[in-house]
Symmetry: C2
């Protein structure tokens, strides 16, 4: 398993002892069953200072760790040169690639592909990918039959670097964000966009969440590197090698969610929400990422209140937002825009202790889960989104026959659109109408939709997603 | 011939007499030979107050006019309701469609598809297109065998409106701007993007400047309206009708350019430029449109000066910019950004009467032609551009073996890229290097490239473009 972020990170307690922090998040959850049943080595960047100390203690080699459930696995932390890592993470990966892959650059003004980006690429993204490739080669040499699972947009160059040195390696790579269409890749000069596509075409398998991103990837490979594409077989042949391109939307873990439902901290948060909530509660849970489209969501809510004065005092939009990537100017600016817009809506409508927009900027997992149970409408309106796990986890846990309002540009829309109210993320008017439709939907219809969503999630769960990856690997082996 | 802008516009002189202003521009020039050899009726919007008076005098019917060369043609001015025209032109066509089709929205913040856009669509774009459709139907009824040539992004709904009423109409539509890929069309809600694609698929022929935009159009038709696409035949079948999709890059008129070369006003402007110019002259000629990428061009020039102190005082970037669409906030903001950037470069580098960036914000046709003759390097670096006529006209007239620096995203790059220095429009570093390469290129190589460009333009001239359109019409008839 290879990803920039590992399943644990180390720190020092005030008394000087080493603390192990086990992260949550989709990918770590996703791989629980894999770790339980297979011999897994996880290769990740050393992110914290203490991670670097641990990496040094093991001279960069892998060491034994245990999963939450005590399953053993090996962890290998790659300690990158800090300046290289800064360029890799805060310039190339975010915002450059992230913004590009979510169609978010305002191209009249940004980005500038300048000396700074060039430096961050050649002295940041390239050496960090080389660091990962070195670690993978070392692990392959230890276990030549190992399958290598790479993850996401941090590692586009790694597969080719490994392939050049170990032609027989079994490489599969899952991209969790959208793959944009050809023209938009022209935000990068030819040598960069070619390097990215050739990098990932060194994999045996390239996985994406949806047919839409898979389709875009196939077309981009033909357009950008002149690869031979078989759309029916979903394969790309380039440089004498063939890559299978798959689409498997990641699922939720029903058992884990059921455990969380009655977790003590969740129940405590739920009591707080229930005590404060008015008659209707609209919920959104996101990182404060510009792709999540929080500002337009607030505008749509204001337009809705404008059109429905009978709802003043009776409905709150609870926005639980995890502050995200605040080292990057585009992200601090967007967080400020979120706060401005919330204040503007509240200044206009609030009265008698009723707050129209209840904005909570914090990383509070238990509060999010509690809100999932309590919503009457869930607003998921991203500009573009690879999948969007909130749109799956929240309906699974909801206990009020809440209605899902879902952007047509969220990857999950391919699976869930049928039972959601579809909105265009730029369409303020349409989102205001969807809020009204959600809050006035007849009870039987609400229940029918929510049950259909849950049935879909039980069928296409996390275990099925992992099994599909393994089956793909068997197919190409 | 149907286009928002006609070949003439009317005004009143100070003494109260009617003045006829004959416009220039690619399309009017392009159709000179057509008007000379065919019976042409031109349908256009009444744009000026006097246009509206003229339209009223003829009760909206066509009347006789003459071309510059005295060829007769009929003109039919459609007087739209002013508020409808405002929404049509200043909200829907620009910036919404223009920005969308040039990939220029910064999607985290804009556009908002709000009540204003909805109103501009239903009470602006739709009725203006209906006005054009009514005029076309009236003209078809007069001459049922007439071929109807529609132009550009102002008239996407018109073909279907005509087709519904006159199923046998012969309709061909040329789009002079890029056709973006499917995902980017999602900036518009489904009903709008579907209406646009279904609107133009009512044509018998849809023309674009390049293979790239043609390719995007074919894919978008399959993705957005589920049309049946035959890529080999370049046809789209939808609703039981088949549209031929062509790509014909528009050419220049060698005879007209040769006339201009020695025009008295051009020679006067050329003397002024020659008297002021330093050893090397870089020229750009554009509208002040955000898609033209003027700001990054100035940044690249500054980076070039930074790297080549030996060139201080020896090279000027002459930017001749026609102020464009200043009723639209995005355009006034971009003009301000242009002026700020020019000032910033000049404040940093200017000395002893040498101005690094000579910025002229004016509509001065003779000055532009004179600059075409005088450049050592021509900078054409648009973010995206349907074709870009400057990249053709200027090399044709250049008299100093000047080098063309050309964006890979300009439509003309498909034809001219081989003899240009290709740049990525976002790549400041690459543009600075291209400026250096252009100004240090060996004389024989410069001459060879410019002659090849001219040969290409003579072969694929304007007459060939018009002939190709007529041949396409014969093909589908």
């Amino acid at each position: 398993m290879v990803a920039n972020r590992g399943p644990v990170s180390y720190a020092r307690s005030p008394s000087g002892e080493r603390i192990t922090r086990r992260g949550g998040g989709g990918l770590v959850t996703a791989l629980r069953s894999l770790v339980a049943h297979h011999e897994v080595t996880w290769i990740a960047s050393a992110l914290s200072d203490e991670d670097r100390v641990v990496a040094e203690e093991h001279e960069g080699d892998a060491f034994d760790e245990t999963w939450r459930d005590d399953s053993p696995y090996r962890l290998r932390l790659v300690a990158h040169e800090p300046r290289a890592f800064g360029g890799f993470y805060n310039v190339v990966a975010n915002p450059t690639l992230w913004f590009l892959q979510h169609y978010m650059w305002g191209l009249a003004y940004a980005p500038d592909v300048d000396v700074g980006l060039r430096d961050a690429w050649f002295n940041g993204y390239v050496p960090v990918n080389e660091g990962f490739a070195n670690a993978i080669v070392a692990e392959i040499d230890r276990r030549p039959d190992a399958a290598v699972f790479l993850h996401d947009y941090h590692l586009y160059l790694t597969p080719k670097l490994v392939r050049e040195r170990r032609p027989g390696a079994r490489l599969t790579h899952f991209i969790h964000i959208p793959w944009p269409e050809t023209d938009y890749w022209h935000v990068l000069p030819a040598h960069l966009r070619v390097a990215i596509h050739e990098g990932v075409l060194a994999n045996d398998i390239l996985g994406l969440h949806t047919h839409r991103w898979r389709h875009n990837f196939l077309r981009a490979c033909a357009d950008i590197v002149g690869a031979e594409v078989d759309h029916a077989a979903s394969t790309v042949t380039h440089d004498g090698r063939t890559t299978l391109v798959t689409s498997h939307p990641i699922g939720v873990d029903p058992a884990e969610l059921e455990e969380l439902r009655n977790d003590a901290s969740v129940l405590e948060q739920e009591r707080l929400i229930a005590a404060r909530r008015p008659e209707f509660l609209i919920v959104r849970v996101d990182r404060t990422d510009p792709s999540k489209n929080v500002v337009r969501g607030f505008r749509a809510f204001a337009l809705y209140l404008d059109r429905h004065p009978e709802m003043l005092g009776r409905v709150t939009l609870l926005a639980l937002l995890d502050p995200s990537r605040q080292d990057i100017p585009e992200y601090t600016e967007y967080l400020a825009a979120i706060e401005r817009e919330a204040r503007s809506v509240n200044e206009r409508f609030q009265r008698d202790g009723w707050l129209p927009v209840d904005l909570q900027i914090a990383d509070n997992f238990a509060q999010s889960i509690a809100a999932y149970k309590q919503y009457d409408a869930l607003l998921v309106n991203p500009v573009f989104d690879g999948l969007n796990l909130v749109s799956k986890e929240a309906p699974f846990l909801n206990e009020r026959d809440g209605v899902l309002i879902l952007s047509e540009n969220a990857g999950s829309h391919e699976e869930l659109g049928e039972w959601a109210l579809t909105v265009n993320p730029f369409d303020i008017d349409g989102q205001a109408e969807a809020i009204n439709a959600a809050l006035t939907m007849e009870g039987g219809e609400r229940k029918r939709r929510l049950e259909a969503l849950r049935a879909c999630m039980r069928e296409h769960d996390l275990a099925a997603w992992v099994a599909a990856q393994l089956a793909d690997l068997d197919r190409v082996s």
